[in-house]
């Protein structure tokens, strides 16, 4: 069953690529859409020149630092606010307001503040990760099961044990989900910062090729981003699954 599904997927992908390859130029001008062979050539060219890897490195560097800083900050702040009922209630409307800003809208001013090099990318990716990780951590801490807490207290847990051995594991699915969603979002943030102003990176390459009407180059950049995100998601699926193997699978309805 599973291998048949894989087979169908490959067939579908091939059919789409063939249609694109041979339809391009007949239905829509190749100038607008490019085609797989041209995109492959463009990718190969930038790989040979070393551009592809250096662009990739520059974008990933900004996304990575931002992700690490933002996640650590979000986790810490989420845990802190999750413990303090009063502070959480005071801050709630402000946090919701900040959360409500379309984050992309902040990119221009971040570039103004932090320049066109690494820092603005780190800050964009950092802010994105911070908000996502903070929210999920906070939700996770809040969602702690009171009955389980009481059971643990009766079994002898002190405050610290209650936190480390009940609240934290109980919140872990939320925290892991936040950390997970934040990874592709950090990447997107870094690329957006590069769109605004930059001198290198995947976002820069996509912008620069579009400005010179090099649609094959643009498509090549998009393909790289797509492969990157799909790859990351696949790895993260595995990691999440092995960390949360105590959770019933979504398809397993026999026990609730």
């Amino acid at each position: 069953m599973k291998s048949r599904i894989t087979l169908y997927r490959i067939a579908l992908l091939l059919a789409a690529l063939l249609f694109w390859e041979f339809g391009s130029g007949y239905i829509i001008d190749t100038f607008w859409l490019s085609k797989p062979s041209l995109i492959a050539t463009s990718l190969w060219g930038s790989l040979k020149k070393g551009e592809l890897l250096s662009d990739l490195y520059i974008t990933l560097e900004g996304a990575f630092y931002g992700y690490v800083l933002g996640s650590v900050g979000g986790l810490a702040f989420g845990l802190f606010l999750g413990q303090s009922e009063t502070l959480a209630r005071v801050l709630q409307p402000f946090i919701l307001a900040i959360y409500g800003i379309p984050r992309i809208a902040l990119a221009p001013i971040f570039v103004l503040w932090f320049g066109i090099a690494l820092l603005s990318k780190v800050m964009m990716a950092g802010m994105m990760s911070f908000l996502l990780v903070f929210f999920s951590t906070y939700e996770g801490i809040r969602s702690v099961d009171l009955e389980l807490q009481n059971v643990a207290r009766v079994l002898g847990a002190n405050r610290w044990q209650l936190f480390t051995r009940v609240t934290m594991p109980n919140a872990s699915p939320w925290i892991i989900a936040g950390l997970r969603i934040a990874i592709p979002q950090a990447l997107v943030a870094a690329v957006v910062a590069e769109f605004i102003a930059s001198t290198a990176g995947l976002g820069y390459r996509i912008m620069a090729t579009t400005n010179t009407m090099d649609t094959s180059g643009t498509m090549a950049g998009i393909v790289v981003l797509m492969v990157l995100v799909v790859g990351l998601n696949t790895i993260l699926d595995r990691v999440e699954h092995s960390l949360l193997k105590w959770r019933p699978k979504a398809t397993d309805n026999t026990n609730v």
């Binding site: 207290r153 079994l155 594991p169 109980n170 105590w246």
Partner: protein, 262 residues
Amino acid sequence: MAKAPIIQLSSVSRVFRGQREVTALAALDLDIAEGEFVTVVGPSGCGKSTLLNLIVGLQSPTTGQKLYRGQPFSGLNLDIGYVTQSDNLFPWLTVIENVCFGLSLRGIGSRAEQRDRALELIERVGLKGFENHYRHELSGGMRQRVNIVRTLVYDPPVILLDEPFGPLDAQTRLQLQDLLLTLWHERPKTTLIFITHDLTEAIALGDRVIIMSARPGRVEEIVPVDLPRPRDIYTIHTDEQFRRIYDRVWLRLAEQMKAPVS
């Protein structure tokens, strides 16, 4: 009473203040002797669970006094174990980790000793081979076995059980009742307070059946169960004496069920 009571409640009441005041327990008196197996029955909503929460110290009485071994106490009493109605296993821990949890929190024994103690009990309740399973991989009956063993493993002098077999099917219930009696006979000093809505279960297990009144809950009557031990849980309901006690408890309870709920 021959032995000194391990738990004494005198005119204990508990009032919940919400949108309107609800008196869950009113002027309740109860003495429980060490090593006794007491079962509690009563109409639903009569404050049975509140009673257990007060005894263990998860809630405090609004008025009245609680004594443990003759001493007044407030706050959580760690000498008292509590087997809740829903199994409340920690879903992120395996069976053996759940069973070791109390020992580990209390720092009783080395890791290896904790494991040995847990494994022994897990085997006794027929869960050998399931040590490394998570909660979602167990049936309801298995979960409740783990829930009971998780408390038994650190040998608290008093164990409260709140309808532990409530959601289980009849066969599994009988098996677990039998198991509970066996494990209790091996720990003659352990005091059990067991809430149930099943009269057969209450009489088959208990030394005394405490009948609570409709809300606000008081002790309506205490019926001694003078059936010899060890009891055969599978046939005891055919016993002549058992039937007499059953009828007596049932009539008293029926009166309470008919009483208008205040």
